[in-house]
Symmetry: C2
Subunit: 207 residues, 2 copies
């Protein structure tokens, strides 16, 4: 949703407020950074998350100072960035980055419904490793009691996206300097079994 | 430096305060997230940066709301995370992430010395693409006037690092579930020339 604080002061043409842009970025990014404030001091914690509909979920220990600070509705800013490429222009000034980022302004809602809480934990697990949850033993009551799940609305989310090649000043176009894009990609390497799992076949969902 | 706010409430054994741990994380990460506060609302901006000694530099447009908010010494929290692997345990609860993160609490010093400012821009450029700066035409006075460079001390920086395989509860060790690590890596793909640079040989530093 476009609000005063989701409207960028710079390069507003790169801003998007539609879920068709925002949701896939949130679904592709594995981690977000949650920024919050303690007595005017900004703090930031990178953490796993998952989206369902127009909400995202994070989880943490019930004893975490971070979780306890934000669980009662302190304002947070959740940011995600996917970096797709380094954009090399003819001049240093026109160098840029191809990225897809999302910023969410929200306050936490503590998830107290046990079914929604369990589903959120499954979503967070499967967001990192699709189909993992179904392969795991049930989560125990004790584990559930030690875990807080927080939900955040995407109502005040915005995306910013840059794609394409360099935008050089006209007077630089004839310079003999190489220009273009170096694509960046995050990849998963072959799974490395724990010592105790060396005899266990790698599940299909990890192959 | 270990201070009250750089001491984690959780897993303090993963915290580090020495530059031998902190500097390589900052040198490997391409982007940081700068969190700041406007009237108690946390905000966050991902941006490029570079380290020199016990300082990091960022840059931005002189007209950027973000830059103008923090350039006069508002408290910021700068965070960086490198994700090295997804740690799959026998239980959902023991799943984890191998990561190397740095959090810096600091306030901006605006770099007004022209030599230091130019050097910072070179460092930021070469941090993303080593040896790029020397291949570029000189930055003009007009470009310098449009750019603000901010420096932040690493005095109150801390790192948090997790490595290794899953740590399962003893009673889960005999479960038939596969456990181990899925390594994550960010790679650079082959450079893609801009249309106007197709006839220009790829420089050695990009090969």
């Amino acid at each position: 949703m476009q609000t005063t604080r989701t409207t960028p002061s710079r390069l507003a043409k790169r801003a998007h407020y539609d879920e068709v842009t925002i949701h896939p970025i949130l679904d592709e990014a594995l981690f977000c950074t949650v920024s919050y404030t303690i007595e005017n001091q900004p703090m930031a914690i990178p953490t796993a998350f998952a989206r369902k509909g127009d909400k995202i979920y994070i989880h943490g220990s019930v004893g975490s100072h971070f979780i306890r600070t934000i669980e009662n509705g302190a304002p947070v800013c959740i940011s995600v960035m996917l970096t797709d490429g380094l954009v090399l222009a003819k001049s240093a000034f026109s160098h840029s980055v191809n990225y897809r980022s999302v910023v969410i302004f929200a306050t936490a809602e503590k998830v107290t419904d046990e079914t929604e809480k369990m589903e959120a934990l499954a979503l967070i697990t499967d967001h990192l490793v699709p189909n993992r949850w179904a392969d795991l033993r049930p989560t125990t009551d004790s584990e559930m009691r030690k875990t807080t799940v927080l939900a955040f609305s995407l109502a005040e989310a915005s995306a910013k996206v840059r794609t394409g090649g360099p935008n050089d000043d006209p007077e630089d176009l004839t310079l003999p300097t190489w220009s273009g894009v170096i694509p960046l990609k995050t990849i998963r390497l072959a799974p490395v079994p724990a010592e105790i799992s060396k005899a266990i076949p790698l599940p299909d969902y990890l192959a």
